[in-house]
Symmetry: C2
Subunit: 391 residues, 2 copies
């Protein structure tokens, strides 16, 4: 019993944390409850029930299935569902009519054949990457509605009425979802994408700033350990964020204009920036193994060398952080150019330092990657800036 109690407490704590990390999760749960209750009442009250009969249950079903976390996802599912039902309903009625012309014996065979061909073809279409990304759910509903309408038509005399009812109830459920999703504390996928990209940039920037500071101030070994734990591992999530970005960008395309984002906001640009972020992240991943090792250099220029490496990293980091702030505010970057030119100057000094004749004793394994990564970073920064200005 004690074990159970602690596990309940743990779960509750976990739930609280989930809610605090992103309060929109709580709102979303309440919104789903609201939408479902509203639609259930539609089903429940007598006059509506007389109109729709059992089909009213499709409205409940639609709400549960269509209501997603972000507005984009809800819209995409709702529109997919509505359009697919319309199309498949029409085709299903057609198929049923065609089959019924062929006489009593051939009818089931023909219907079975239609269902088989339609299901196989639609399922195969779902493997096309473009269709998978945007219309996967629509294809599913298409298969479903076609099978339901064409087969059930044999039983129910008024097949058109069935199709019509199904469509109407789905429209009711779908529009309830969309209205509630947009009007009550909306969660915009586009905004999330925007924030994610800016946050990733910031994480990379923090790492570089931290890396620079470590080598400028040379804290004692203990201090270094502390520092390393807190902000410097954040960049790792950047490396694996590709999938989230793709999904969000796909959803964002479905959303109408909102806030600072117009309808045809160039979401694809975000993906490009995301890819650049990740390439930057890969360099940092390679760099991070040198975080706690001393940069070994000939004694004469060791101090100078470390300072320059540190400065370079710091300036790159500052530029990225600045860029992230500007992206968040959607203003033109202002201070970034300064940091970049500082970083460039540092890189130049570093290059000439590397060409000097002082490197006779060869413990280079530790320091050159730093320079390499930093110079790569500058390239990336320029790229990012260009893209940002294009937005």
């Amino acid at each position: 019993p004690k074990k159970i109690a602690t596990s309940i407490v743990d779960t509750a704590k976990h739930a609280k944390k989930l809610g605090r990390d992103d309060p929109r999760r709580v709102y979303h749960s309440l919104k789903v409850g609201l939408a479902l209750t509203v639609v259930s009442l539609f089903y429940y009250y007598q006059p509506l029930y007389d109109n729709f009969g059992v089909s009213a249950m499709w409205a409940v079903l639609t709400v549960v299935v269509v209501f997603e976390f972000s507005v984009g996802a809800t819209l995409s599912k709702g529109l997919n569902r509505g359009l697919a039902t319309l199309l498949a309903g029409a085709l299903g009625v057609g198929a049923h009519h065609l089959a019924s012309l062929s006489g009593h014996v051939a009818e089931p065979i023909l219907l079975g054949f239609f269902v088989f061909v339609q299901a196989a073809v639609s399922t195969f279409l779902r493997f096309f990457p473009k269709i998978k990304a945007r219309y996967d759910y629509g294809m599913l509903i298409f298969i479903l509605t076609f099978a339901l309408v064409s087969v059930s038509g044999f039983r129910e005399d008024e097949i058109l009425e069935l199709a019509h009812k199904r469509l109407t109830t789905i429209l009711i459920g779908g529009s309830a979802c969309i209205i509630i999703a947009i009007c009550v504390c909306p969660v915009w996928a586009g905004e999330d994408l925007h924030k994610l990209i800016a946050l990733n940039m910031e994480k990379l920037g923090s790492f570089l700033e931290g890396f620079g500071e470590v080598h400028l101030n040379k804290p004692s070994a203990e201090e270094r350990k502390d520092e390393k734990k807190t902000p410097l591992n954040g960049y790792q999530s950047v490396l694996t964020s590709k999938n989230t970005e793709d999904v969000l960008a796909n959803l964002a395309k479905w959303e109408p204009g909102h806030g600072k984002f117009l309808f045809r906001h160039p979401w694809a640009q975000y993906l490009k920036i995301g890819t650049l972020n990740r390439q930057c992240g890969y360099r940092i991943e390679a760099l991070s193994s040198y975080l706690n090792s001393d940069l070994l250099a000939p004694e004469e220029i060791k101090e100078e060398f470390e300072t320059i490496c540190g400065t370079l990293s710091l300036e790159c980091g500052k530029a990225l952080n600045e860029l992230s702030r500007d992206t968040k505010k959607m203003t033109k970057p202002s201070g970034v150019a300064q940091h970049i030119s500082n970083a460039k100057a540092a890189a130049k000094t570093l290059n000439s330092l590397l060409k000097s004749d002082l490197w006779a004793d060869m413990e280079l394994l530790d320091l050159v990657p730093t320079a390499t990564a930093a110079s790569l970073l500058i390239d990336l920064l320029i790229c990012t800036e260009q893209i940002y200005e294009a937005v």
Copy 2:
């Protein structure tokens, strides 16, 4: 009209390519068609129709929604759907009974309240990462069934019968899916995961072998370009494969034993190996920018240096390829140790070479990352080997 014709031809070509790349896609499409036709006939024939009535449509619905590409996904969805329907049906009947005790006025309010609370709580639960990974679909069906049963119960006199019918038809649809998915050309998520990991290893290995050969043979610039295009960019897909791996591992956990895989195969190990693969890939990404640049070194040891770098890379690549082959066959690695020790020897020579006094002129930017990455690779290899032996 000509434009339309070419776009149709293009689509057909694309479809053919999709089918040839993975013939299982075609089989899967046919399987879905088969399952749907079988279940539609259930719905269609008179005696069965008499038993189930309109509810038989749930069977059709279940097939469309549950039938997924891999056995794991189908099983997971089918079991989730079945169990969730059972549980939610029971709870829904309970809620309905409770509400009906409270008199005519309070009943709709109470029912609405139940639906609201249940939907909100279940939706929130879906944000728990563990539940999201394995039971997301079950939670959805839970909300759905609860709402349907508890609300519709008010109308239909025989609520128990509704719940019972829904459950039975879902079981029919679900088991049809599972049987067809397992018996007709099954697609195992576990096997896919296994192959993906081995393939990723192979891609990394090919890059390293190619990299090694480039520096050993020093082909002319044109040859180099050709080589670069074909096998050496393959590793990039390794970097972003995390999501696919996670999904496959999740699905593989649902699958029963099949072929060489027992029921409780350590799928988590695959994820670990996948992570190591990716870390290896990050190093290679950093390394790849040096692919076509000459390694600059003092003239006296240039030849030797390039040979050693090439050998190191080649041996690492061979070891990875060997490991990939052994993984595919699920045999203990045999030749790998030899390659690794070769690579270690090369790395040792490289290290001593770097410590020599010949590096006075400083164009080091180009070569040290090579050495760094290669020595990192050795570490990674050892790790991978250890994990592989643990499997």
